[in-house]
């Protein structure tokens, strides 16, 4: 469904990603794990179009979308929950959700999708009229996921959904993500929280210093001594 081929990218002269190849297969949950600073968020920016790679291709549903601008990728069905959630703090929770249906593909069915988001996160229904800036971290993450769902995406791309949330809510959020994937949505998720993420994944990639150093099914990755080495930078 979504494939990166030989991606090289960085910021103003500093190269962060080197020859990244990975694939999120249709109907599966794929996770990208790795220590802080490995380049995971940068990889997602290449996918949602906020950062243009200096080399390589981004292929979505068989089409090369490397040069397609960010807003059009949303319209094509790539929904992303960016790092740090990036909600619109002065809009209410519901305002944020509705803005998620901005592009044409989400607009027509906005009311039904909104109802299904509230069914997924009943807590948001109660908090609908609260300004996003006043929500708790967990609630904000729910809004961020809900906002992404409002565009009726074919793939949901998540950057560290567990970051800055109370531990109890972390497992709840992961359960919801698993629920979405069981409902047929393709998921690509970046996480530092490798254990939790791999538990709900179908396939995993491990990133270190801008390179994919390992990949495989989750049970293999969870088992490996190497993973711990990659993670804790043990030589």
């Amino acid at each position: 469904m979504l494939r990166l081929e030989g991606i090289t990218a960085g910021y103003e002269g500093t190269r962060v990603l080197r020859d990244i190849g990975l694939e999120a297969k249709e109907g599966m949950a794929t996770v990208l794990i790795g220590p802080n600073g490995a380049g995971k968020s940068t990889t997602l920016k290449v996918i949602n179009g906020l950062l243009h790679p200096t080399g390589g291709r981004v292929v979505f549903q068989g089409n090369d979308i490397t040069k397609i601008p960010a807003h059009e990728r949303a319209a094509r069905g790539i929904a992303s929950c960016p790092e740090g959630r990036r909600l619109f703090p002065l809009l209410t929770a519901e305002g944020n959700l509705r803005l998620g249906a901005y592009s044409p593909r989400g607009r027509a069915a906005a009311e039904e999708t909104l109802a299904s988001v509230y069914d997924l996160f009943p807590r948001l229904r109660e908090r609908a009229n609260v300004k996003a800036g006043r929500l708790s971290g967990g609630e904000q993450q729910m809004v961020a996921i809900g906002r992404a769902l409002m565009s009726k995406p074919t793939i949901l791309v998540l950057d560290e959904p567990s970051l800055g949330i109370a531990p109890k809510l972390v497992s709840e959020i992961f359960e919801k993500i698993q629920q979405l994937r069981k409902g047929g949505l393709t998921v690509l998720m970046v996480e530092q929280n490798a254990y939790q993420a791999l538990r709900i994944a179908d396939f995993g990639y491990v990133m270190q210093e801008g390179r994919i150093v390992m990949d495989g099914p989750p049970d293999r990755l969870l088992d490996l001594e190497d993973l711990r080495k990659a993670y804790f930078a043990i030589p």
Binding site: P69, A70, H71, A74, P82, R86, L90, L91, Y102, R107
Partner: protein
Amino acid sequence: MRRLSLRTLGPTLLGILAFLGVLAAIAGRMPLVLLTLVINLLIFAALAYSINFITGLTGYVSFGHVLFMAVGGYGLAYGVGTLHWHPVAGVALGALVSLALALGIGAVTLRFRGVYFAIASQVTALAGFYIVLEVQELGGGQGIVLNVGFEPIAWFYTIWVILAIEVGITYWITHGRLGYGIRSIRADEDAAKTVGVHAAALKLVLFAISGLFAGAAGGVYYWQGSGIFPNEAFSLTFSLIMLAMIVIGGMGTLLGPLFGAVAVYLSSQYFLTVLIGFEFVIIGVLVVVIALFLPEGIVGTLRKYVPELRGLIE
């Protein structure tokens, strides 16, 4: 979003239209001193609404907005002086050239964010100044003196129409889906893009509209002044006044530019009678104080602290 666009016109819009309606009804009977004051107030308000489109709504600080006002003035002067057109046609010419220029400049400078955009816009205004100095058809460093009549009623109705259209467009784009998209750019442009907002196109359209109306207001300003001189026309002061008006009134709001224009214009007129040049010190201090303590301007502050007003002003 659908619910919002179905809402009735709203008290703020009706209030502004009523205010303009009253002015239009009594303009012919005003004493000349008052009429002149009102005309200048409306010109300032038109400038405030013009910069509100880009800086107020998207947060891109157009620090050289005087460029578009000056281009409007030179369009008028060329249309009237060289082409011998009616001044209203001259205003239209200036406004359209200004629109075209804004499209061209914006296509490049709107790629920069934050302070880089502000600097780039200041550079374009400086460039405009030096270009005009070299163009003999535009009077070079001498400027252009126009041989137009003293027509306060014509000035009044021209700027009145310009302002009314600006208010209408501001209302239209701040409501409904488009308004959400535009304001999301100001809040977080990258996040806006990821939800599918075509930020680049929206910014460019707003900048072009902004240029169009700054040009139109400039045209009327120099029609009234019956001439244009480069040193005044490209003065940084105008850019600062435009920014001051929306900062004081409330950026991106419907009523703020009008409040800001009244506050800045009246206080500048008052201090003009006290000490020339001093008025800008006062306005500068006022802007800093407001930006520090009331960052949402008059309108935002009223909405915040007077809950009863929330449904009334926007």
